[in-house]
């Protein structure tokens, strides 16, 4: 070995001098270069969570339904009848910023492997994306590439991508966010964990050959800020092969269901290094890996390159001697490489061999357990204010045309329909989709059962910027509310915590605050965090993204047929607003779009009211009292009402054959509404402005519609929950009044045109 593992080499690999000294202490002197490369990856931020671990302990992670919490490839939740759901979200932000198509594609590939590694058949993907403003050509290029990459990979796998979310803010200009979430169905008695065991068992590598792609992805890309060397980092991005992954899914699930493997682990960040060290440390055993037996794409690769390559579509399995022939047969049938590259040993050491020579000898537990823990002293940033903005007529002049303000909001990229994106995703394959993208939640049935599951994801980065504690708490509350609007009971969370550089006190403060907000909301809503991912260093040239703790949530149904969507259904139905009446300017989409400002302090979620609202909303849906329900989010009450009107006509591209026939998913025509907001002073506080009543934002508000004859039973079901009858579903216009005085009337067709205007911004 010609390469020396000096302190200079360590620093070049992203380690600090202190960390290097610690490594020398563990290894009893200067490590080999292969050892150093392994430590540099396992102790990188991306793999070791060194800045986040001390804070993440705050999360609730267990509960009667939770079969597997954090620490495995995915969390697993019991959903009844012997079925469980494995779920996880992971970021692929940095690769996507460098090469959007392959970055996003391999993000999907990685998260899907986390799911089927455990024995679950992936059944849904959702993607949460953030970009800079679409007025910038590079941002349109990134959006186009990321959505195309997700479609390319996910569609080929035959896993429905049932929506997600997309937001545009200047803070994401240099660091787009690509958070890929996936979930799978698994029988509760068939769960496989990534724990090596059985001295003498084979270590088997299955899938693609190993190349030089993705060398140092976790350390070079994911654990550093971006600067002018961005373009040079392109070789650190992997290239995806969804066809091979599809074959891997089928082969691995067969291996697991036939009990042909002892355990399995996918090769993700840090490749063979992380998979082998995690499997051995969890199993308290040693592993011998013969790097020279790994099938290669490039013959001249060195052992350290083989160990840290992030070539995609590879799995590591532990297999007994008796079963290796069966494993080979399955892999051969699927035309996949299957190579014994090592063995489980009792040495408790991770040993790497190269043509008979030992090139690394690392105590597996110490590699895993002694990775550094860093707690940056946190500093409250100077921009944070404690009071809401004063909405006076100088700073915030009153709009002259409220109807025009509404269509302007509907056309704003953050609110406008994302049909352009989700129509590129196969959202219906596997024949389980009950609710297609575009409503509050994705809903799937479980075959041969009455049961169903639902997924949502949410995070308002602007709110989290203005107040990370309140914003993160609100993200959890909103994700749960979205599920409740579809009639599902929220049961678990997976989170993707996207932040700037954690070595900075202000970023660390944002992180701590957000984690506290998530923890409190998850406790109140009884939704433990079962898996997740932290992505730090989302900064370019020292400019950090908005703190973006993305929440992915699972909901369950005992009877999925109760589910409803957001579309108004029938003339004459009564529209009711559930929850507190309030409208805040602070951090609202209205503040950004109409006034070009992001300032103030966002409202705090009243968790007690939130729990009560969701409980009663769900009870009403289960009793089949409601025809539609929709959360009031960006754009406030007026945008929520407009979306309920438009949704009736959103058939996914074409009109129904029979516009009168109510179908699952979407209704066949547009319906208008006639609503009265009551008194502005009651809704929008002292400011008394109708625009705040219409477009102001606040948590814990849901718009529902109900058949007039069921208003009585609904009243009874809601008990003391605050609510107000707003008006009726009628005609083809949305008409809003305030104490009888008309504010605006806009044709639903016009609202629809504004809402579907995103493609024009991409042209």
């Amino acid at each position: 070995m010609s390469r020396r593992a000096t302190v200079e080499a360590a620093v070049k690999l992203g380690l600090t001098a202190d960390e290097y000294a610690h490594i020398c202490a563990i290894q009893g002197g200067e490590p080999t270069y292969v050892e150093l490369a392994i430590y540099s990856l396992m102790w990188s931020e991306h793999c070791s969570y060194k800045h986040s671990r001390p804070v993440l302990g705050r999360f609730p992670t267990s509960g009667p339904r939770i079969l597997q919490g954090p620490g495995e490839n995915a969390g697993i939740i019991d959903v009844g009848d012997g079925w469980a759901v494995a779920m996880k979200v992971e970021s692929h932000n940095h690769p996507s910023a460098v090469e959007p198509f392959q970055g996003a594609a391999t993000g999907v590939g990685g998260i899907v492997r986390d799911i089927f590694t455990m024995g679950a058949r992936p059944c849904v993907s959702m993607d949460s994306l953030r970009f800079g403003e679409l007025t910038e050509p590079r941002q349109r290029f990134l959006l186009d590439g990321v959505v195309g990459g997700i479609a390319h990979y996910g569609n080929c796998l035959g896993i429905p991508t049932i929506g997600g979310e997309i937001y545009f803010e200047p803070s994401y200009e240099g660091n787009c966010l690509v958070n890929a979430m996936s979930a799978g169905m698994i029988r509760t008695d068939n769960i496989v964990r990534a724990i090596a065991s059985g001295i003498g068992n084979h270590v088997v590598l299955i899938g693609s050959k190993t190349g030089r792609d993705g060398i140092g992805g976790a350390s070079v890309l994911a654990s550093q800020e971006f600067d002018e060397t961005l373009e040079e980092k392109r070789p650190s991005v992997q290239v995806g092969d969804p066809f091979t992954e599809k074959k891997l899914i089928e082969a691995c699930l067969e291996l697991i269901h036939r009990h042909l493997v002892v355990s399995m682990q996918d090769l993700g960040a840090a490749g063979l290094t992380s998979s082998s060290s995690e499997m051995s440390s969890k199993g308290h055993v040693g592993l011998d890996i013969h790097a020279d037996r790994v099938p290669l794409r490039e013959a001249d690769m060195e052992p350290w390159e083989i160990m840290i390559s992030e070539s995609q579509e590879r799995m590591l399995a532990i297999v007994t001697a008796e079963q290796i022939a069966d494993v080979r047969e399955v892999c051969e049938r699927w035309d996949l490489d299957c190579t014994v590259i090592g063995a489980v040993t009792d040495s408790k050491m991770l040993r790497i061999w190269w043509h008979g020579e030992r090139v690394a000898n690392i105590p597996a537990r110490r590699l895993a357990d002694e990775s550094p823990v860093i707690r940056t002293p946190s500093v409250k940033p100077g921009y944070i204010v404690d009071e809401p903005v004063a909405v006076d007529d100088t700073g915030y002049p009153r709009p002259s045309d409220l109807g025009a303000a509404l269509t302007q909001l509907l056309a704003a990229p953050n609110i406008a329909s994302k049909r352009w994106a989700w129509e590129q995703y196969d959202y219906i394959v596997q024949a389980n989709t009950v609710q297609i993208p575009g409503s509050d939640a994705a809903v799937l049935r479980i075959k041969d059962s009455q049961r169903g599951i639902a997924f949502s994801n949410d995070c308002n980065g602007r709110h989290c910027y203005l107040d990370p504690y309140r914003g993160a708490k609100a993200a959890v509350a909103e994700a749960a509310r979205n599920l409740a609007c579809a009639g599902a009971l929220p049961v678990a969370v997976t989170d993707c915590l996207n932040f700037g550089n954690p070595e900075k006190g202000e970023i660390y403060w944002q992180f701590e605050q957000a984690v506290e907000g998530i923890a409190q909301a998850c406790e109140a809503l009884d939704t433990p965090v079962v898996s997740g991912n932290v992505s730090f260093y989302n900064e370019s040239f020292g400019q950090a993204i908005y703190p973006t703790p993305m929440i992915g949530m699972l909901g369950v149904y005992d009877d999925v047929s109760v589910h409803i969507d957001d579309a108004f259904k029938d003339e004459g139905d009564v529209i009711v607003l559930l929850g507190a009446e309030a409208g805040w300017m602070d951090g609202s989409e209205y503040q950004k779009v109409a006034y070009g400002k992001v300032e103030g302090r966002v409202p705090d979620v009243d968790l007690q009211l939130e729990v009560e609202l969701q409980h009663k909303l769900r009870a009403a849906i289960e009793a089949r009292l409601l025809k539609s329900a929709h959360d009031c989010a960006e754009g406030g009450l007026a945008v929520a009402l407009a979306e309920c009107c438009i949704a009736g006509g959103s058939t996914g591209g074409a009109q129904f054959a029979d516009p009168e026939a109510p179908r699952s998913g979407r209704h066949g025509r547009w319906l208008g509404a006639d609503v009265d907001l009551g008194s502005a002073a009651a809704v929008a506080g002292a400011a008394g402005r109708p625009d705040l009543a219409l477009f102001g934002e606040a948590p814990t508000r849901v718009v529902v519609s109900v058949a007039p004859e069921l208003l009585g039973p609904l009243d009874e079901a809601l008990g003391g929950l605050p609510r107000r009858v707003l008006g009726r579903v009628t005609g083809a216009n949305l008409r809003c009044t305030m104490e009888g005085k008309e504010l605006f009337t806009v044709a639903v067709g016009e609202l629809h045109s504004a809402y579907e205007s995103l493609p024009q911004r991409l042209a």
Binding site: A151, T244, W422, D426, Y427, R445, T651, A654, S664
Partner: protein, 242 residues
């Protein structure tokens, strides 16, 4: 009387991903059974109708269906078709049938240059096929398309011959069943969504009827009669034979 079940075979190519959906769809029809036919096999195991499912055979890394067409199983499918057996290709299966020369024309990249997953309306152009006999002429179906290469094309002479022989089975249309701007999701020539061969026993379509067999799901149930037509045909043929 309880007849023997109608036996369907669903071919599995590497990269097929609607094979399970096709089998599941058939399972919602009492009195039918469905089994997978592996691409490396060379016989059809006695099935009475064959479905080539949707997906990305061989990743669609070469022209869609161009590699699958050379799978060992395909010779058996070609022989089965030549003897009058019912063969339906859905999406990637349609592309494979075209590549195999069992159906005329070709399927090229969507004019929008993007994958498109969308509900479309389909007008039933002929009920004189074993695949559409249960529909009414002119009936409009709402079924999802999802593909990158669904843009049907064929030379003018062949098209004229196909029209004369009533081989255009499904066209994209609006909700009222009229050919219209915006109703065609991929730029297909003459709004063609599905065609059959001259003998009428081989049929291909881009939309996915296997995702439209259960009314309580998002896909609706407008695809049911396609499978029902095939089942009816097999039963009728069996009756005649006995």
């Amino acid at each position: 009387m309880s007849a023997a079940p109608v036996r369907f075979g669903v071919v599995v190519f590497p990269g097929s991903n609607c094979d399970a959906d096709a089998c599941h769809a058939l399972s919602t029809f009492p009195g039918t059974s469905a089994q997978y036919l592996w691409h490396k096999d060379t016989d059809l195991k006695g099935v009475q109708a064959v479905i080539l499912p949707g997906g990305f055979s061989y990743g669609d890394y070469l022209r869609c269906g161009a590699i699958a067409r050379f799978s060992p199983i395909m010779q058996a499918v070609i022989d089965f078709a030549a003897s009058g057996g019912l063969v339906m290709g859905i999406c990637n299966g349609f592309q494979t049938l075209v590549e195999a020369g069992l159906l005329p024309g070709g399927l090229i990249r969507n004019t929008g240059l993007k994958f498109v997953c969308r509900y479309v309306n389909l007008r039933v152009e002929t009920t004189d096929t074993p695949f559409t006999s249960a529909y009414a002429a002119g009936e409009v179906l709402r079924i999802v398309v999802k593909h990158n290469e669904g843009n049907y094309t064929v030379d003018p002479e062949t098209l004229a011959r196909m029209q004369a022989a009533d081989q255009i089975v499904l066209r994209y249309a609006d909700a009222a069943g009229e050919q219209a701007e915006g109703a065609n999701p991929n730029g297909a020539l003459d709004d063609i969504a599905g065609v059959c061969n001259e003998a009428r026993n081989v049929f291909g379509m881009m939309p996915h009827p296997e995702n439209s067999v259960e009314a309580h799901l998002a896909g609706g149930a407008d695809g049911r009669k396609l499978f029902q037509s095939m089942i009816d045909t097999v039963l009728r043929t069996a009756e005649v034979a006995s």
